[in-house]
């Protein structure tokens, strides 16, 4: 949290959010204007280490080593010094110029921790600036120190010395490595080789395989001496050094009474009370997001209806005018009235929950349940949000750590029945077939999520990861940062998704205007009529459902010429259930597809889309046959 607050202080409104090239990791970039200088600031992913466990770690490390930034500002949480210094040490080993922003000094103070910054500066050999980002304290000093560090240079950071057995072998190996042409410092590369870092091994192995085998031999020697793998020994020693520095620079006074945040933590992770609290929070979040979204959505809808009649008065209802309105403008309206009213409160709430620390407590409580579908606790939030709208749910999958988990969570989330799907389930099956059948559909959907989640979990390559996360202390989120984060993410979504939504609606409208809908429905009839046992006309409604799922129901009423579906011949209970089942599973709506493309890229978005269409048709056909057997 501290990092994004500082980033926002540095760059203000001069920000640009995108993705790292070819990755699903967010990249924020901004400009700092300071005393006539224009400084490019990049927000590197928040990480704990520079190994290659996650894609974020790799990105940060490659950026620092290869792009050679003038300076790295290392935002350190003063209230958890030891863990954070472990990372600082790794940055120092990369031999990049750094300035440490010793942040959250206020929280440290509240926890009874006093830190001697001067001493820390001496020990590390890098500038240390105490800051309280949320109240802007120390930010000016941080800017000044950083500029000075770049322009006047900083002294060399203290060299981190490991135990004798390790140190001797690092020296030996770095002599070998220094002969190779590498973008990394030799000592750092030598350490990484000893840690059996896959990426560095691969890179050096291409240049000189002998160095890699020499490194393996040296690592084995260390392993024999210490009885643990070499990477364990190095990590362990590095943590010892971090711990030693932390003990030297900080004084901890015991707290006399249990602070409020600790009591709140105890309550929100309590084995019994934690759950009702969680349910209450989630319900109020849901209520807030959807009452705001629904209200705004309808309000905007009414506004646009009026605009529509004005438009028709001006341009008439000719083919071109209809195409422009129905295709382009209505796509825009769909985006504005569906996505935005839900996305704005969603982002606000998500960042609020995340920054305050409550999100990690929910993950703690729900970890076990999410394991059943191959995910861990953190995925619970996006999955829950999916019941409202799949778009924010897809975007919310960002909070997962590895690329594998992110894909898995996204896949699962697109299967969750969103509010529009619920409209179909309740409006069609719930009203005309019976409430118990609607309930059954929900149960079936959850079962499908469970089964597909498990299969994807087994099939996807890569190591599954369990939950391991820091539960930082509760704190008040920084409102300005939350607002800024919301604003920039929203802007990015609009730029990315709207062209897709508009293009989608234009194509469908074009097909409509050209009179191709019925021929297409005929083409689809082997699927709709023969396999699914539905009236041919439903093919058209399912196409429109791609725009917004509730349109399938609205179009059905239009095409049948009545909203009383019970009176339609050839559309009995079986057809209603099959139709709803297909509509529930068959495709993420165009807004969700846009979110998928943004988060996962074209290939995976296409994969999920195609898979879900095929799967829905498959399940629908099976259901039709089963239902016919029961003689409904």
């Amino acid at each position: 949290m501290g990092k994004s607050v500082i980033f926002n202080h540095l760059t203000g409104l001069h920000q640009h959010i995108g993705n790292w090239p070819g990755k699903t990791v967010e990249r924020a970039e901004g400009t700092l204007h300071f005393k006539g200088r224009m400084i490019d600031v990049i927000d590197l992913p928040g990480i704990y280490s520079l190994s290659t466990f996650s894609i974020e770690e790799l990105i940060s490390r490659e950026y620092i080593a290869v792009e050679n930034p003038d300076l790295v500002i290392n935002v350190v949480d003063a209230s958890v010094l030891e863990r954070n210094l472990f990372f600082t040490l790794q940055l120092m080993e990369l031999e990049t110029p750094i300035v440490v922003a010793l942040n959250q000094m206020d929280m440290a103070k509240k926890k009874g921790i006093k830190i001697d910054c001067k001493k820390m500066e001496e020990i590390l050999g890098v500038p240390v600036v105490p800051t309280v980002a949320t109240s802007r304290a120390g930010i000016y000093e941080l800017m000044q120190t950083s500029v000075d560090a770049v322009e006047k240079g900083v002294g060399t950071p203290t060299k981190i010395r490991y135990g004798k057995e390790v140190e001797v072998r690092i020296e030996k190996l770095s002599k070998m490595v220094s002969k190779l042409q590498l973008p990394y410092p030799a000592r750092w590369a030598a350490i990484k080789l000893l840690e059996e870092d896959e990426q560095i091994e691969g890179r050096i192995g291409q240049l000189d395989p002998k160095t890699v085998s020499a490194a393996r031999k040296l690592a084995e020697e260390i392993e024999r001496i210490h009885g643990h793998s070499c990477s364990t020994v190095i990590t362990s020693e590095r943590y010892e050094i971090a711990g030693g520095i932390a003990r030297e620079v900080q004084e901890i006074a015991p707290l006399r009474k249990l602070p409020m945040r600790e009591r709140l933590h105890a309550l929100t992770t309590h084995k019994i009370l934690g759950y009702p609290v969680m349910v209450a929070v989630i319900l109020s979040v849901f209520f807030a997001i959807f009452s705001f979204g629904d209200y705004t959505s309808q309000l905007l809808g009414t506004v646009f209806e009026n605009v529509c009649s004005v438009y028709e008065g001006l341009f008439g209802t000719g083919i071109l005018a209809t195409l422009v309105w129905g295709g382009v403008i209505e796509g825009l309206i769909a985006g504005i009235t569906i996505a935005l009213p839900y996305l704005i409160p969603f982002y606000l709430v998500l960042y609020f929950l995340e920054d305050s620390g409550y999100l990690s407590r929910i993950a703690f409580l729900m970890d076990n349940l999410m394991h059943k579908i191959g995910l861990h606790g953190k995925a619970f939030i996006p999955a829950m949000l999916g019941f409202g709208c799949n778009v924010p749910a897809c975007l919310g999958c960002r909070i997962m750590e590895t690329e594998r988990e992110r894909f898995l969570a996204t896949f699962v989330v697109t299967l969750v029945p969103c509010a529009a799907t619920s409209v179909i389930i309740l409006g069609l099956v719930g009203t005309y077939v019976g409430f118990e059948w609607a309930l059954l559909l929900y149960v079936i959907d959850l079962l499908i999520i469970f089964v597909l989640g498990r299969i994807a979990f087994k099939v996807l390559p890569g190591e599954p990861t369990g939950l391991i996360m820091e539960m930082h202390d509760y704190r008040t989120p920084h409102l300005k940062t939350v607002l800024a984060q919301t604003w920039f993410r929203l802007k990015e979504f609009v730029i990315m998704a709207f062209p897709l939504i508009i293009a989608g609606s234009f194509i469908i409208k074009l097909v409509d205007v050209l009179g191709l809908l019925e021929p297409i429905a005929d083409v689809l009839s082997p699927v709709t009529v023969v396999w699914l046992g539905l009236p041919a006309i439903t093919g058209i409604t399912l196409i429109f459902g791609v725009l917004r799922k509730e349109l399938t129901l609205l179009m059905l009423a239009t095409l049948f010429g009545t909203a009383d579906f019970a009176s339609v011949a050839g559309f009995g209970s079986v057809q209603m259930i099959v139709f709803t089942l297909v509509a529930m599973l068959y495709i993420p709506c165009v807004s969700t597809i846009a979110a998928l493309v943004k988060e996962q890229g074209w290939r995976r978005a296409l994969f999920i889309t195609v898979f879900e269409i095929g799967f829905a048709i498959f399940v629908g056909g099976i259901a039709y046959r089963l239902l016919m057997l029961t003689g409904m």
């Binding site: 364990t232 992770t269 993950a363 861990h376 606790g377 391991i468 996360m469």
Partner: protein
């Protein structure tokens, strides 16, 4: 006395002895379980580290521990692979 971290009761302390690699195979690689151990170690759970169990979530959920001045949540499956010697 050595126990799995997951077997410790709330309030109990221990020192980490070792982290067992994953036994379930994910590719026949000599690095099997490498990332898993690396991850725990990067988060500060190295051999010799003192830990205290604060609580465990119900229904076989994750456990909360204090380690290196911070608070971590660890999934049950991961905690089962961490061997600690219990302090009295």
């Amino acid at each position: 006395m050595e126990k799995k971290l997951s077997e410790l009761k709330p309030g109990e302390r221990g020192v980490i002895v070792s982290i067992q690699a994953l036994t379930r195979s994910h590719g026949h690689h000599r690095r099997r379980g490498w990332g898993f151990r690396r991850r725990l170690e990067d988060m500060g759970l190295t051999p010799g580290t003192r830990v205290m169990i604060v609580k465990s979530a119900p229904f076989h959920g994750p456990i909360e521990i204090h380690v290196r001045g911070s608070r971590l949540a660890i999934g049950r499956g991961m905690a089962e692979r961490i061997l600690v010697s219990v302090e009295n």
